[in-house]
């Protein structure tokens, strides 16, 4: 017979209030206008998205802001089936690293706009190097999910 051990169920519920800072704020405002904003390091010249406060390589404040392309290549992707705390949308969904044209780092977002119920169909449609393009939500709140997902072109 299986042994039953007593357990104590206990939820920890904590409220947080995060400072957004001027960089993320400006980036979010860009999303509301259907723009993806990046900025450029004045030292190494790399263009990073989302825009950053400082260049992680050079440690200097980032320079000029610019709008970048909303299209790019899939670098890597993963199909998620199970629910977890902090998930962006209900599963199944595809998390992906995308290299937007003209940028120097990979951008994390979702790939969607296709039937995700069958793993094998998905594998056929999505591969490294596939081109994808941003599809926007109708309602914008200044959130990364104002971009609904990136759809295969």
């Amino acid at each position: 017979m299986a042994k039953h051990f007593q357990t104590l169920r206990h939820d920890v519920w904590l409220p947080y209030k995060f400072a957004v800072g001027p960089t993320f704020h400006r980036f979010y405002e860009g999303l509301k206008e259907e723009k993806i904003l990046a900025n450029q390091c004045p030292k190494c010249g790399r263009i990073l998205v989302p825009a950053r406060t400082f260049c992680p390589t050079c440690y200097v404040d980032m320079g000029d802001w610019r709008e970048v392309a909303q299209e790019g290549e899939v670098v890597s992707w993963s199909l998620a089936h199970d629910e977890f705390f902090g998930m962006p949308v209900d599963p199944p969904f595809i998390g992906a690293l995308i290299r937007l044209d003209g940028t120097d780092c990979n951008f994390l977002h979702l790939i969607g706009g296709l039937d995700l119920s069958n793993q094998d169909t998905v594998r056929g449609k999505i591969r490294q190097g596939a081109r994808v393009k941003a599809v926007w939500s109708d309602e914008k709140t200044g959130h990364l999910l104002d971009i609904k997902y990136f759809q295969p072109v």
């Binding site: 920890v12 947080y16 957004v20 800072g21």
Partner: protein, 388 residues
């Protein structure tokens, strides 16, 4: 014992309510400041030590990962240490051990907290388990109030005298903070205001208790050879001590507090100090609560047990007294928990190297830094001197 180690630079943020920046940017403010103070670049650093309160505080689970770019720790060995309120001194000890061992020549140590982003009391009550102790520790104020209460009863200290001594501590430190450009609370208070303020956990009232602060502190530890080459006046580590207590709050005495006494003894032994009140020039004691600060004077041997109130009321431990304590205003005026203990170390280093600006204690050559963690669970001490 290990080789000699010195502090060659310190950096602090403007502590307070920092909703103007995200957490990594706040950390970068302190890190940029320490590199500027030390006059070296991140490439010279061999390893990084980072620490904060448990991840529940800001809701981001892996802070040393979150700050990797801000601390320039990418591509370097990194250690995280966390001992609640004494984190800052544990960070300093970790940096010291690393360099003293010979396994690194220069180590960057960073402590930080962004308390306004989370629920600090909730984080602190989760320090204890939910079977028993979590219900009764009443957040941090409850535990320290009980400790002060026990002390008063043990030695028959008249309540009025204790209240006056604690109020003087509050008045003195709030005034001291006005001379500290980094301090959070900059508001002078009077004895009457302190004694009649709102009760939080009796006997502690509003002005007996530290604020919730956002802030970061960074310190660079270097081996003797590099320190003498790079820095005109290093602050040398003369003594260290650390002790942890039992988990169960009711199991040991927190008045004649062996953990605090032994940590101090270990540090004094290493530094060759036999009469702390006479030999130390300044002490940055961890003081989130005025009453508890008085008890530390006794446990660290600055005076005998039951005498802290008398010495305090005479002015012995104020600026201008025999042993100025917390001329920076201390934890009472600035408390970003993960950074606080390290700020005590940084302030002690600033004092013995003549860099404390408007709150400099003239001619300071030997300084004590201390921090306490948990619900009266950890005590750590570092003694710094201008001479090796």
């Amino acid at each position: 014992m290990g080789r000699a180690v010195g502090i060659i630079g310190t950096g602090q943020t403007r502590h307070g309510s920092r909703f103007d920046v995200t957490y990594p940017d706040l950390v970068r403010e302190a890190v940029q400041a320490v590199f500027e103070d030390a006059g070296i670049t991140p490439d010279d650093i061999d390893g990084v030590v980072s620490g904060t309160m448990p991840s529940m505080m800001e809701g981001v689970a892996l802070t040393h990962f979150y700050f990797a770019d801000a601390m320039r720790s990418v591509g370097k060995p990194i250690l995280k240490t966390e001992t609640c309120g004494s984190t800052g001194v544990s960070l300093a000890l970790t940096g010291y051990y690393w360099v003293a061992s010979g396994m690194a020549d220069m180590v960057l140590v960073v402590g930080s907290e962004k308390m306004h982003e989370g629920d600090s009391q909730a984080t602190m009550t989760t320090v204890a388990e939910p079977f028993y102790q979590r219900f009764f520790i009443s957040g941090a104020p409850g535990v320290f109030s009980m400790q002060s209460q026990m002390w008063m009863a043990r030695y028959g200290i008249p309540e009025d005298k204790l209240r006056d001594a604690a109020a003087k501590v509050s008045v003195d430190h709030h005034r001291d903070a006005l001379d500290n450009p980094y301090a959070h609370i900059k508001k002078a208070v009077t004895m009457d205001e302190v004694k009649n303020a709102k009760v939080i956990t009796y006997p502690c009232r509003l002005w007996d208790i530290c604020p919730n602060s956002d802030g970061a502190c960074a310190v660079i530890f270097a081996c003797e050879q590099k320190a003498r080459k790079i820095c005109q006046r290093p602050a040398w580590i003369k003594g260290i001590g650390y002790r942890g207590d039992e988990y169960w709050f009711g199991d040991s005495d927190k008045v004649v507090w062996q953990g605090a006494i032994e940590a101090a003894k270990e540090a004094y032994g290493m530094a060759g100090i036999t009469n702390p009140r006479k030999e130390l020039d300044v002490a940055e004691v961890y003081n989130p609560f005025t009453f508890q600060e008085l008890l530390y004077y006794e446990n660290f041997g600055f005076c005998d047990f039951a005498q802290a109130c008398d010495y305090t009321l005479k002015g012995t431990f104020a600026r201008g007294g025999e042993l100025p304590c917390d001329p920076s205003g201390g934890t009472l005026c600035t408390n970003p928990i993960g950074a606080t203990g390290l700020i005590r170390v940084a302030e002690a280093a600033m004092q013995v190297t003549g860099k404390a600006g408007d709150h400099q204690i003239e001619g300071a050559g030997l300084a004590l830094a201390h921090a306490m963690g948990g619900v009266d669970q950890f005590n750590g001490i570092m003694i710094l001197g201008s001479q090796l």
